[in-house]
């Protein structure tokens, strides 16, 4: 007999943004619990929409699958902000917890996702798959922030498995494949070469038109990297900027990520 998945949630959020009369609008939205999108806000101007990604269950449990499908039509300009950290509860049914983002961004559109933290609890197992398919004339800013768990409760590196991947396609060509799988029981992330004693990790991506003119050296010099935090910028392709951050100070790491994002949002 298979595991009891009766309480597992299959959350879906399928949202489509478009530009209409100079304003970015939420054109379509399909949402099934516990995933929702907030109403669209315009804190800066009507061209740039801001929406919150809402998860109402308070965290993911074993067997949960959350599927996000985000589509930006031509010239839409959207900033998406997760309302809270992703908490992953202990694996109880020998089933993984899965989160999938599939993102399509058309010509001239701008998408910014401001990541919140991922907090894998003791004995949890989490897989995240992000696929971004974009036009070279679009711009995407994306990122990820990983924590070792509930460090303040002395529950760090006690999860079973954390497997995240980010796949970037520009103009139908595979450009970057960034996947990290951590299993602290098998190989402790503090080891030299993995996370080098740090507890927190973040990745930052700027891709497409936004990254074309950017210079990795200039951005690296622009960043205020605090003592005890490591970060560096690289340009793996002519229209992709990437930054990795390792730190044991979550606040410093988040500030650095925001600094990099602000550099492109000016």
């Amino acid at each position: 007999m298979g595991p009891d998945t009766s309480l597992a949630l299959q959350g879906k959020l399928d949202i489509r943004f478009a530009r209409k009369s100079g304003r970015t609008i939420l054109k379509d939205a399909y949402q099934s619990p516990p995933l929702k999108v907030s109403r669209v806000l315009y804190p800066e101007n009507s061209a740039r929409a801001v929406a919150y990604l809402v998860e109402t269950s308070g965290g993911m449990v074993s067997g949960d699958t959350y599927t996000y499908r985000i589509h930006l039509e031509e010239n839409a300009d959207v900033t998406l902000i997760p309302q809270s950290a992703v908490k992953v509860y202990p694996q109880t049914k020998a089933q993984d917890t899965l989160q999938e983002f599939t993102v399509d961004v058309e010509n001239g559109a701008v998408l910014v996702l401001q990541p919140d933290t991922l907090i894998p609890y003791k004995a949890s197992s989490f897989t995240s798959r992000t696929t971004v398919r974009m036009s070279g004339e679009a711009s995407v800013i994306w990122g990820e922030i990983l924590t070792p768990g509930r460090r303040e409760r002395r529950e760090a590196w006690e999860y079973q498995k954390l497997d995240t991947s980010f796949t970037l396609w520009i103009n139908q060509e595979l450009k970057c494949l960034d996947r990290l799988q951590l299993e602290p029981d098998k190989s402790h992330p503090h080891h030299i070469g993995i996370m080098d004693g740090c507890d927190y990790y973040a990745s930052f991506w700027a891709a497409g038109a936004a990254a074309e003119e950017a210079d990795a050296g200039a951005l690296n010099r622009h960043l205020l990297i605090p003592e005890g935090t490591r970060a560096a910028v690289t340009k793996p392709e002519d229209n992709i900027i990437h930054m990795r951050i390792l730190s044991s100070d979550l606040i410093a790491l988040k500030k650095l990520w925001q600094q990099a994002a602000a550099y492109f949002m000016q």
Partner: protein, 224 residues
């Protein structure tokens, strides 16, 4: 003993001119921070590089190309390129692949090199070292496991040779580190046999970040 065994030794001789002596793949950042100061620390670094980087990256690419089909070649080549995020590491891999091809041409003749170039053009493969190496291996009688094991051995031990110069360490200390790595290379080769293109990933976040940090270091010995 078959002559191909000797050919494998020649390809992985530290004097084989692919430019590995100019590449540290981020190790120089660790050395400059005094995180690698002796043989034990070098061994720990090399084991991470071996198990967390090469095994889940280039070694899988070599295996996939040697065991794959014509149809799977292009995808393996695209993954080989896409998984290298740090620009210096990506450029180093491409430079070593080109130099490997030039050396093949000088020892095997123009026809052998032209055949490799034809395959790479037909499948839109960039000249990453892992890709060119695997395609060349297919022209020999060397088996996949031996080719992968040799690749794991030479990519890891070239870092030891470079560390001996950069830390600096004594030659005997370097040889002790290589001896200590031999069982790990065998273990890594067995691990690669269990893996496929689906397993490719960037496990060694610290080493990759070090390669990115290396781009911004002003005084350095190595290109990556």
């Amino acid at each position: 003993m078959h002559i191909d065994f000797l050919k494998l030794m020649q390809l992985h001789d530290s004097a084989f001119p692919i430019g590995s002596y100019t590449q540290s793949f981020g190790m120089e950042t660790y050395i400059q921070r005094d995180w690698i100061t002796n043989g034990d620390e070098l061994l720990a670094f090399c084991e991470s590089y071996l198990f967390e980087n090469v095994v889940y990256g280039d070694a899988i690419i070599v295996q996939e190309i040697m065991n794959g089909t014509e149809e799977s070649l292009a995808h393996a080549g695209a993954v080989a390129h896409a998984v290298k995020i740090a620009r210096e590491t990506k450029e180093a891999s491409l430079r070593m692949g080109s130099q490997f091809l030039q050396t093949v041409e000088s020892i095997e003749g123009e026809a052998a090199a032209e055949e490799l170039k034809r395959i790479m053009t037909a499948h839109q493969l960039r000249r990453h070292y892992s890709v060119v190496y695997a395609l060349y291996m297919l022209q020999t009688n060397i088996g996949t496991k031996e080719a992968v094991t040799g690749f794991l051995y030479s990519t890891t031990t070239s870092l030891v040779h470079n560390a001996v110069r950069a830390v600096p360490l004594g030659q005997k200390s370097g040889m002790r580190t290589i001896s200590a790595l031999l069982p790990s290379v065998m273990k890594a080769a067995a691990l690669v046999e269990e893996l496929s293109l689906e397993d490719v990933r960037n496990q060694a976040v610290g080493i990759e970040l070090a390669s990115m940090e290396h781009e911004h270091i002003k005084v350095r010995l190595f290109s990556s």
